[in-house]
């Protein structure tokens, strides 16, 4: 069977007025709620104190206790309960060598994949902008770096892109 197609029929025009009304209302709503300055947050908690009794079993692996001492001329990375100097990162073109800091943090994270906290101890004169850069470097892997794959304390292989997300400022209280 052949269907007859009306050749002379005028093209069908859909009524777009209700859609336009809806779009206009949507635009007004979005214009009212739009925030043109992209604002985000970085979290940090005040250091808490925990009393550990002698009877409690000790950890098999010594804690990383990673501390960054930030002065105007260098970042000193310290690890362990004794605060042994792991690395001193100097300036590069007038700014801290953030690439080297990221590399060192990745190396430490590979050895302690379950560890999420880092202590930052800046000098009084260090600018807030530089502290934010350091926090950014400590929190996440650089975009070009592949994810870290390592075994955690329980022997399970984990893949992560975060480094030390829990930032604590030591000198607050």
């Amino acid at each position: 069977m052949k269907r007859r197609v009306k050749k002379s029929a005028a093209p069908c025009k859909p009524n777009v007025i209700p859609i336009l009304d809806a779009v206009f209302i949507f635009i007004f709503f979005l214009l009212m709620s739009a925030q043109f300055l992209e604002i985000y947050e970085i979290g940090s908690d005040a250091p808490s104190v925990k009393t550990v009794s002698e009877d409690q079993p000790k950890d098999k692996k010594p804690p990383l206790n990673l501390t960054l001492e930030v002065s105007k001329s260098a970042i000193v990375m310290k690890t362990g309960l004794d605060g042994n100097i792991h690395k001193t990162i100097g300036l590069k073109d007038g700014n801290y060598d953030f690439d080297q800091l990221a590399r060192e943090l990745v190396t430490l994270k590979k050895g302690h994949v379950s560890e999420t906290s880092i202590i930052i101890r800046p000098d009084s004169k260090v600018e807030y902008k530089k502290i934010v850069y350091i926090m950014d470097t400590c929190r996440e892997l650089p975009k070009e770096t592949p994810s870290i794959v390592a075994k955690n304390d329980k022997g399970v292989t984990v893949e992560t892109r975060s480094l030390f997300e829990q930032i604590i400022f030591e000198t607050i209280i």
């Binding site: 336009l20 992209e38 985000y40 979290g43 908690d45």
Partner: protein, 175 residues
Amino acid sequence: MRNKRFNIRKSGEKELDVDITSLLDILVILLVFLLKSYNASDLKLEVAKNIDLPKSKSMTLGNMAVIVQVSDQKEIWINNRKIGRYLASSDEKIEILYSALEEEAKNQDKAIKELETTAPRDNNDKSALATRKANRKKVNIVMDQSVPYEVLRKVMHTSALAGFPEFKFIVQGNF
């Protein structure tokens, strides 16, 4: 004049056909742009004058909590209300900030108690109470990028003493 126009339409002449394709194009582009800049965060922030936020890679959206702002001239605001200026001293606690934050903490506790005593009418009331409780100890710190750590440390110290030990550093994204 009116009658004349009316007559023309009535006379069976062809209706004026407006081509709205280009207008629709503009609207769609505007819609996409606005959808991209839409921010789902409940944090409504009016950044004070002379505050240049530091840039960051962070993508974590902020939450509504008490806002402490410090400008490059070390002027201090709480919830968009100027309370004074930071004066360098050997004391770790900033007195004007402490008293303002203490008052804010009292107000927040009072509001939470009121919400708890009045029976929640619907899910919105319950979520409002839960949000208030969750954000009770948070403080949003909005600070100029040139301010030294000494001021930040004292602001954090004072906030923690006044009952706000969870610090949220507000930064400018898209870095």
